[in-house]
């Protein structure tokens, strides 16, 4: 599986996990949008399917981080990991071809395309 496809699946999975998390937030519930329980279950199944599409090792890393931090991926901004707000070593800053984790907190790092 190409790095681009793995990355796209990871991003989709991450956005979906954040969506599902927000649905359980008391502040969100108070706003009063409609959320169908049955559809929520079906999206939970979609996330499981997405997870299965990832290479085993990547899926394991993602799940382990999600359980630890809730948000497994941290964007990189200005050379900082946005999960732990530590400056990343410069040799990491050059965009490499495979999934990179933060040497400090372990989150999967994501460089936004400018």
């Amino acid at each position: 599986m190409s790095t681009e496809i793995v990355e796209m699946h990871l991003k989709l999975l991450f956005d979906l996990d954040n969506l599902l998390n927000d649905m359980d937030e008391p502040t969100y519930k108070k706003i009063g949008f409609k959320v169908e329980e049955q559809e929520k279950q079906s999206l939970i199944k979609t996330r499981t399917d997405l997870l299965k599409k990832l290479p085993r090792e990547t899926a394991d890393i993602y799940e382990r981080l999600r359980k630890r931090y809730q948000r497994a991926i941290a964007p990189v901004d200005n050379g900082f990991c946005f999960g732990c707000f530590q400056r990343l070593p410069t040799q990491l800053l050059a965009r490499s071809e495979k999934i990179i984790t933060c040497p400090n907190c372990g989150r999967i790092l994501y460089w936004r395309k400018k």
Binding site: D15, N18, F33, V35, P75, R112
Partner: protein
């Protein structure tokens, strides 16, 4: 943070082409991001819609999600030239859409606070019949600012 200050006139389309719900949402997403970023946002927004329409009734919809594709809160506004089907809670068509995309990491929970505020302002727009009022994006921003100030005073 007030809502008017989060709006930008190049992301307010007051003569949005009517069409299928998903296409109209897509057109609005494209005022914020393009390419794979837009695809990711759209995919997540439509998953949100699967959970239940964000059409809150009385012609207003507020599609929303977090996405890794943005690094700050982004809002787009669209008013369709003709009402469109949106599967809204009151089953009535929609003509004014506030689209809101937030980054995953969001200090101070700005996303949910802003989302709540948009719902509140939208309800005022409905109550005071102001949906069709503005002719230009500048007028729209001024209107939102006034409504928001009115709400603050009312408290």
């Amino acid at each position: 943070m007030n809502l008017a200050s989060l709006l930008s006139k190049d992301r307010i389309t007051l003569s949005l082409k009517p069409g299928k719900k998903n296409k109209v949402i897509e057109d609005l997403v494209y005022t914020i991001k393009q390419g794979v970023d837009a695809e990711l946002i759209l995919s997540t927004l439509l998953k949100r819609e699967e959970l239940g329409s964000t059409g809150i009734g009385k012609a207003i919809a507020i599609p929303h999600c977090r996405s890794l594709a943005v690094d700050k809160l982004e809002i787009a506004v669209g008013r369709t030239t003709k009402p469109i089907k949106f599967n809204a809670i009151d089953k009535k068509p929609v003509s004014l859409i506030f689209l809101i995309i937030a980054p995953p990491q969001d200090p101070g929970n700005q996303y949910l606070i802003t989302l709540g505020k948009i719902v509140q302002i939208a309800k005022e727009l409905i109550k005071k019949k102001l949906i069709g009022k503005s002719q230009t994006p500048e007028e729209f921003i001024t209107l939102i600012d006034q409504v928001e100030k009115g709400l603050k005073k009312g408290k």
